[in-house]
Symmetry: C2
Subunit: 254 residues, 2 copies
């Protein structure tokens, strides 16, 4: 048996998220069906379970197989059987015990706000249209307040379960780029809806409903009702999963 | 009667181009139908007639109306009646004799190549997937050979008609951006399929089938069979239309 790892890019618009379920098509299911065209059915493990409508540029997944297909060929093979909104960008043979979820040391998510009075025909699928006016400078100053090791219960979907709500955010930044604001966040892991609630909280900062310096107290309160709304899914993209032990040493310049 | 001008953004994937026709839905038709919800039916004039599948971030269009709706309100009104893949980004009252097509002094088009062995789930709608390997440096060096005033018959769709095939290209550049190559071109006007044939010619340079220094002779030959293929429409986007008399003075730094 070999372990094959995949880097997967997908447009989440048409999917009920990553994880296989009965309510609608999922990315995991589409990939498992594609694998079954070439080898015995296999269970695919993803690094992160993205929600319905969330996109990925660098999801990582793995499966075990006794197929003779060489690791790098899997990307080309699977793409012939996948819909165009899911592409395997790369594939390789990983160490036999590689586990895409448990071995992940960090993830980079990007949340995109589109802030113009009118919406965007080209970016509407990939951003949250906030018609403003937004205090962008205040949002830029607020984002780094999330950095550090904190109990992020105040940024977890109500009712979600977790063994520990403590996570480390290595870097959290807002960058304006034309009509788009990118919120980029790197962390060792994320609670359910955490990035979208952080994005919603920064949105409230942009509206003047919250201030950046309020964020430490919001986090300390562990009170979900004090943070901002859960930003809608189409603005979120899982950009990259890190497997090196110290991913924060590798971050791009701020 | 007033003249209302619009800046229009659209995802051309679902449309048979800009211009109203019998074969399928067009952007002009969708906009004229939206206008007719608020005022007497009006004929809409676009700066450029983009082809089926071509996108626009900055198409400009105008129509004449006796409606009392103020210029800036039209964008919001029309967006309530338009499909999500067409958005009016801005609207204003133009001088009464403004003509979006005849008064245009220049246009900026961007053609996007996606050059990775595997395609892109997120950019597939907006780029041409060329699996390479491409000689990117050769493409970058070749692009400026199109600059200047030339007879562009060799870059016009066979059978297309025009009063004069002479056009001026102010700037023509290839810029790598991750897995994407942007071909940006500014000119005083473009022949039918001109940008897509220029893109296809640069693609041939990337493959080593042509060299940048061949381009002056290709243009002089006026022979469509010597330039590259017509690159597919989904990579093309009309970025901006210029109405100032010297748009080249206003170009961004190369």
């Amino acid at each position: 048996m070999k372990t094959i790892a995949l880097t997967v890019e997908y447009d989440g618009t048409a999917y009920s998220g990553w994880q296989r379920q009965n309510n609608g098509p999922t990315v995991q299911q589409a990939l498992e069906e594609a694998i079954a065209h070439f080898a015995s059915p296999a269970h695919l493990i993803g690094a992160g379970r993205t929600d319905a409508g969330v996109h990925a540029r660098g999801q990582v997944a793995c499966f075990r197989t006794d197929s003779a297909i060489p690791g790098p060929r899997w990307a080309l093979a699977l793409n012939t059987r996948l819909p165009y909104d899911i592409r395997v960008a790369a594939s390789w043979e990983a160490p036999a015990d590689f586990h895409a979820q448990y071995h992940a040391c960090g993830k980079h998510y990007r949340y995109s706000f589109f802030y113009r009075p009118t919406g965007s025909a080209l970016l509407g699928r990939y951003s949250w249209h906030v018609s403003g006016p937004l205090q962008v400078q205040a949002m830029m100053e607020a984002a780094p307040y999330f950095e550090g090791t904190h109990d992020f219960s105040a940024c977890m979907a109500a009712g979600a379960q977790t063994r520990s709500p403590v996570r480390t955010i290595y870097r959290s930044r807002i960058t304006p780029c034309g009509d788009v604001l990118h919120f980029d966040v790197w962390g060792n892991g994320f609670l359910y809806n955490q990035v979208r609630i952080m994005a919603g909280t920064l949105y409230y900062v942009g509206l003047g409903k919250l201030q950046g310096r309020d964020i430490p107290a919001l986090l300390q309160s562990c009170d979900r009702t004090r943070t901002g709304p859960t930003a809608p899914p189409q603005g979120l993209c899982l950009e990259r999963v890190y497997y090196t032990p110290h991913p924060w040493d590798d971050l791009p310049e701020a």
